[in-house]
């Protein structure tokens, strides 16, 4: 356990301490938007929270002496590919207020879009008629907030479950400590999700994937409810990759009978077989697509509702309205804890169901 602590700290030192070769240049404040009241501020805050970000913002406040906004945040490394890699820390970006110079190229963050663009030395964005930015956007491989959270959860899961397995083996099958909390959950996934859906014979191949995906989604959902304000499973790219894994595993482990049921449905007249084939083929793609949309939309919607209710407190600014929205926000938080578990469960359950379809034996 001690070794793992050292390893974790070394990795974080490496991530956060990456040396930088970039130097910031100030931009005139003309382009920075002025505030449009508390409602716009809350709206901007919510839309910004829903997106990925280049730094781990913890809090911000307005300094009373200077009148400037002070941000408390963990900088994360920015990695750009634009004819060779460019490395610098996100603290150089200063929320889009400065232009960053890296190997004679100039980059600037567009804070509204949370995206880094290549600019000239003055950091000018060129817009077209539809308010779209015409500047070249380099490929962004940055360790963003979402990616750093995924890495963190991966480390937590790796050390947690390897230690659980070790202590389980040492105690001859009796769980200890935190394992007493996790053992029933793991057994539930095996006995209630994997075995009834996939079958006694073949469930073992899928157990590792089902357990991983369940705890991964659950931990990330729960982290999204902490004041850290990460929104990983509410990001469509993340849910897309998770659903892609389910899609690939389903189709690469499928047997003859599964494909037979898709392209040449047995037991129906030939004409219906021809009609059914494209519908069934479409179903192959719709199944994982509904998985990805469900998880993404549930978490995204939950975050929007929660943030809006918290924002209502600051809009009302009186005792009755604010306390009412506080109570509402409190209850929605509790529901969100349930949703976090439920969505992880549904994703695992439906994945197991699809695997079950893929390996079902033809016994009729």
């Amino acid at each position: 356990m001690k070794q793992s602590k050292y390893l974790l700290s070394i990795v974080f030192l490496l991530i956060f301490g990456l040396s930088t070769f970039a130097s910031p240049i100030k931009v005139s404040d003309k382009e920075i938007k002025e505030d449009g009241g508390i409602k716009t501020e809350i709206k901007d805050y919510i839309t910004h929270h829903l997106k990925d970000s280049h730094s781990y913002s913890l809090t911000s406040w307005v300094d009373e002496d200077t009148g400037k906004k002070v941000y408390l945040e963990l900088p994360l490394p920015v990695i750009l590919y634009d004819n060779g890699f460019h490395f610098f820390m996100s603290s150089k970006l200063k929320h889009g207020k400065t232009v960053v110079e890296s190997n004679d190229n100039f980059y600037r963050l567009n804070y509204d879009k949370s995206k880094i663009f290549k600019t000239n030395k003055e950091g000018v964005f060129e817009y077209d008629k539809d308010n779209k930015i015409l500047n070249y956007a380099p490929l962004d491989f940055s360790i963003t907030k979402n990616i750093s959270t995924i890495i963190l959860v991966a480390f937590i899961m790796f050390f947690l479950f390897t230690n659980l397995a070790k202590s389980f083996a040492e105690n001859k099958g009796i769980s200890k400590g935190i394992g007493r909390f996790f053992e029933p959950i793991i057994l539930y996934i095996r006995d209630e999700i994997a075995i009834p859906n996939i079958g006694e014979k073949k469930y073992k191949n899928y157990m590792s994937f089902l357990l991983t995906i369940f705890f991964f989604i659950w931990f990330l959902n729960m982290l999204g409810l902490t004041p850290l304000g990460v929104n990983v499973t509410g990001n469509i790219a993340v849910t897309f990759s998770l659903a892609l894994l389910t899609f690939l595993i389903t189709n690469f482990t499928a047997n003859k009978s599964y494909w037979g049921h898709i392209f040449w449905m047995p037991g129906v007249p030939v004409l219906i077989k021809i009609v059914l084939a494209p519908i069934e083929l479409l179903g192959v793609f719709i199944k994982p697509f509904s998985l990805l949309i469900r998880l993404y939309a549930n978490i995204q919607a939950g975050h929007i509702v929660l943030y809006s209710l918290i924002g209502l407190m600051f809009i009302f600014q009186n005792l009755i309205g604010s306390s009412l929205s506080f109570v509402l926000a409190f209850f929605i938080s509790i529901i969100e804890i349930l949703v976090a578990l439920l969505q992880a469960y549904i994703f695992t359950m439906l994945s197991a169901l699809y695997f079950g379809f893929a390996v079902a034996e033809d016994d009729h």
Binding site: S290, I293, R294, A297, Y345, I346, M349, L350, L353
Partner: protein
């Protein structure tokens, strides 16, 4: 007069609400008749509710 697109969103939510409500109603009645099978019924009801909800989300995203 043109009907705004967001009205479709409201209709979708009404449909999904009815769907999930009926799922819950069926599950509750089934548990009332067969309390022993409540575990299985709950699982099936959750999956069906998730499927109905998925259609609703898909429609809302198509708006």
């Amino acid at each position: 007069m043109e009907i705004p697109v967001i009205v479709g969103g409201g209709l979708v939510v009404i449909g999904v609400g009815i769907g999930i409500g009926l799922t819950g109603k069926g599950a509750m009645e089934a548990i009332g008749r067969q309390p022993d099978a409540s575990g299985k019924i709950q699982v099936a009801a959750l999956i069906l509710a998730a499927l109905v909800e998925g259609i609703g989300f898909a429609a809302l995203f198509a708006l």
